[in-house]
C-alpha cells in the first residue's frame, strides 16, 4: 500500500508554490526591459519632477512636502506598473511561445501557477517601493515617520491587487506582439488622468470628470492620505470600496479572458 501510494500520489503544493514563485521571480527579474523599467522608472520620474521642489510645502501653508506627496504618487505608479506590465506582457509572451501548452500537460495546478506569478510581481513591486523610498530619502531628503512609511507601503501594495487582475486579463486578451503597446496605452494615460504626475486641476475638464471613476485615482487618494495629504471631499472608505469593486471586476474579467483562451486551445 505505502509503496503504491508513493507512485500514485501527487506532489505537495507548498514546496511547488515556493519553487514556482522563485522561477517566476527570476523570469521577471532577468528581463531588464521589465525589471529595470519597473524598479528604476519611478525613481527616475521622482528625480525629474519631484527632486527640485521636494522640500517645498505641497501648497502654501501645508505641513506636507511636495516630496512626500510625489513619493506616494510614484510608489503607486511603480507598483501598478509592475502588475499591469509584469503580468500583462509576460503572460502574453508565454502564450506566444506556447509555454502554456507544456505547463498544461504537467501536474502543476493552474491556481499555483497564478499565485506564484502574483507573488513574484508583488516582490518586484516591493523592491520598486523600497528603491524609490531610499532614493527619495537620500537624494530628496524626504523623511516620513515609521508609521507613515508603513501605511504608505501597505496601502500601495494593497492597491496593486486590482491591477494584478487587470494585467492578467490583458495578458490573455492581447497578443504577444501587441501586449507592450496595449498595456502602455491603457496604463500611461490612466496614470496621468488620475493625477499621479500633475494635479488634476491642471488637466482638461473631460479628464477631471472621468478621473473619479478610475481605479488609480481612488488608489492615489489612499496613498496621499497615508503621507498626511488627504483629498478633500469623500472619505477614504469610499476609495476603499472602489478598490474592492475594481478588484472583483478585474479578476472576473481575467477569469473570463483565461477561460476564453483555454477554451480555444484545449477543447
Amino acid at each position: 500500500m505505502s509503496v503504491a501510494a508513493v507512485r500514485t500520489g501527487t506532489a505537495p503544493l507548498l514546496p511547488m508554490l515556493a519553487t514556482q514563485s522563485y522561477a517566476e521571480f527570476v523570469k521577471l527579474f532577468r528581463v531588464p526591459a521589465f525589471s529595470v523599467t519597473s524598479i528604476v522608472l519611478p525613481s527616475m520620474f521622482f528625480a525629474f519632477i519631484g527632486l527640485g521642489q521636494a522640500k517645498e510645502p505641497l501648497f502654501p501653508g501645508s505641513t506636507v512636502t511636495f516630496g512626500a506627496y510625489f513619493l506616494a504618487s510614484m510608489a503607486l505608479y511603480g507598483v501598478a506598473n509592475v502588475m499591469v506590465l509584469g503580468f500583462g506582457i509576460s503572460l502574453a509572451n508565454e502564450r506566444g511561445q506556447k509555454q502554456d501548452l507544456l505547463m498544461k500537460s504537467t501536474p502543476l495546478p493552474a491556481p499555483v501557477y497564478f499565485t506564484a506569478k502574483a507573488l513574484s510581481a508583488l516582490a518586484i513591486a516591493l523592491i520598486s517601493i523600497v528603491v524609490l523610498g531610499l532614493f527619495a530619502a537620500i537624494a530628496g531628503g524626504v523623511h516620513l515617520n515609521a508609521s507613515q512609511l508603513l501605511t504608505l507601503g501597505v496601502r500601495a501594495m494593497l492597491c496593486s491587487i486590482p491591477f494584478i487582475g487587470l494585467g492578467f486579463a490583458l495578458g490573455y486578451l492581447a497578443g504577444p506582439n501587441s501586449a507592450p503597446a496595449v498595456t502602455n496605452l491603457i496604463y500611461l494615460p490612466t496614470a496621468f488622468a488620475s493625477g499621479l504626475f500633475f494635479p488634476l486641476r491642471l488637466l482638461p475638464n473631460f479628464l477631471q470628470n472621468i478621473a473619479p471613476y478610475l481605479p488609480l485615482y481612488r488608489a492615489a487618494h489612499l496613498v496621499w492620505d497615508s503621507v498626511g495629504a488627504p483629498t478633500e471631499g469623500e472619505s477614504i472608505s469610499t476609495d476603499w470600496l472602489y478598490i474592492a469593486g475594481y478588484t472583483v471586476a478585474f479578476f472576473l474579467l481575467a477569469l473570463w479572458a483565461y477561460r476564453r483562451d483555454q477554451g480555444k486551445k484545449f477543447n
Binding site: 507512485r7 514556482q20 522561477a23 527570476v26 504537467t106 501536474p107 484545449f266 477543447n267
Partner: protein
C-alpha cells in the same frame, strides 16, 4: 488509491474517440489500449491525427465523442498527470531560466522525482546545466524537453516527434535512454517520422491515416503485410517513365539515376526491365522495410 497502482489498469485507453475541429475530423472513432510497459510508436503522414491522439491521451484536448482514460482516470486528473512525462511539438519554455533551474522547477510538480543531476545527465546536458535555456541550440532544446519529461520519474512517457532537430549523437543517446526506460518497465508512446526509430524501439506500431487506425501490430507483422520486395538499382541513362509502364509495381521512387521499386513480383519486373534494354547497375533485392510498408499502407498501394 491502491487500485490506481494495479498492473491491470491500462496506461492509456481510447474508446471510440473522435475529435473534430470545426469541419475537420482529426481523429475518427479511434480505439486502442496501451498497457503498462508497452513501447508504442504512432506512425502516420503529417495531419494524420497523431498529435491529436496524443493530446487526447494527455487531456490537452477533449474528445468530441468517446472516452479517454489515463491510468484509469480522467486525463486532467492531477493523480494521472503526476504519473506521466511529456515532450510536445512546438511547446516553449522560459528562456531566461537556467537548465538546472527549470529541471528543478519541473521536478517540484511530481511526487517522487529523479535527482536534478540525474535527469540532466540522462538527457546529455551535463555541460549545459548552468546555461540559460535561450542559449541552447535546437538539438539541445530537444534534449532539455526530454529532461523535463523524465525528471518526474514518470510511469509513462508521451513523446511527440522527440528526435526532431537532434544531432546524430543526441539521437543515439536518446534512443538508448528510451530503451533503458522500456527495460525498466516504463510505458513509452511516441510519434515519429523516422521509421527506423519505430522499428528499433517499438514493439508495437499503430499506423494512423486520415484520423483512423489502419494498422496496430508489431513492426514485423506490419512489414509482413506488404508481401513484396524492394528492388533498388541505378541506371546508366536517366530513367524514363515509359520504361516502367505496365509493370506490376506497388510503388516507385526515382532520384537522379537511383530507382527504388516495391513489387510483389520482382522476377517479372526485372525480366521486363532487361527486355526493355534498361541498363541496370548496383542491383539490390531485399524484403520490404517498415518504411515501404508504411508508404504502401498510407497510399493504399496506389501508384501514380
Amino acid at each position: 488509491m491502491a487500485t490506481l497502482g494495479r498492473v491491470s489498469t491500462p496506461a492509456a485507453e481510447l474508446v471510440n474517440a473522435s475529435k473534430r475541429y470545426g469541419e475537420v475530423e482529426a481523429v475518427r472513432d479511434v480505439s486502442f489500449v496501451i498497457e503498462p510497459g508497452e513501447v508504442v510508436a504512432m506512425l502516420g503522414p503529417n495531419g494524420a491525427g497523431k498529435t491529436t491522439s496524443i493530446s487526447l491521451m494527455l487531456g490537452t484536448r477533449k474528445p468530441t465523442s468517446g472516452t479517454v482514460r489515463l491510468f484509469g482516470l480522467d486525463p486532467n486528473d492531477r493523480r494521472a498527470r503526476s504519473r506521466i512525462g511529456v515532450m510536445l511539438q512546438e511547446s516553449g519554455v522560459p528562456g531566461v531560466l537556467r537548465v538546472e533551474e527549470i529541471v528543478d522547477l519541473f521536478r517540484s510538480y511530481y511526487p517522487a522525482p529523479l535527482p536534478t543531476a540525474q535527469a540532466i545527465e540522462m538527457a546529455g546536458l551535463e555541460e549545459k546545466a548552468r546555461s540559460l535555456v535561450k542559449d541552447l541550440s535546437g538539438g539541445q532544446h530537444q534534449r532539455l524537453y526530454f529532461a523535463l519529461a523524465i525528471c518526474g520519474d514518470p510511469d509513462a512517457l508521451f513523446l511527440d516527434e522527440p528526435t526532431v532537430g537532434m544531432d546524430v549523437e543526441g539521437r543515439r543517446r536518446f534512443l538508448e535512454e528510451i530503451d533503458a526506460l522500456a527495460t525498466k518497465g516504463r510505458t513509452v508512446v511516441l510519434t515519429t517520422h523516422y521509421l527506423e526509430e519505430a522499428d528499433q524501439l517499438a514493439r508495437r506500431v499503430i499506423v494512423i491515416d486520415h484520423g483512423r487506425v489502419i494498422a496496430d501490430a508489431t513492426p514485423a507483422a506490419i512489414k509482413a503485410r506488404v508481401a513484396g520486395k524492394r528492388v533498388t538499382f541505378s541506371t546508366a541513362a536517366p530513367p524514363e517513365e515509359s520504361q516502367f509502364a505496365g509493370l506490376p509495381l506497388n510503388s516507385k521512387q526515382i532520384e537522379d539515376h537511383r530507382v527504388r521499386l516495391l513489387t510483389s513480383e520482382p522476377e517479372e519486373v526485372l525480366r521486363e526491365l532487361f527486355r526493355r534494354g534498361v541498363e541496370i547497375r548496383d542491383l539490390e533485392v531485399a524484403g520490404a522495410d517498415l518504411e515501404e510498408a508504411f508508404v504502401a499502407m498510407t497510399h493504399h498501394g496506389a501508384e501514380k
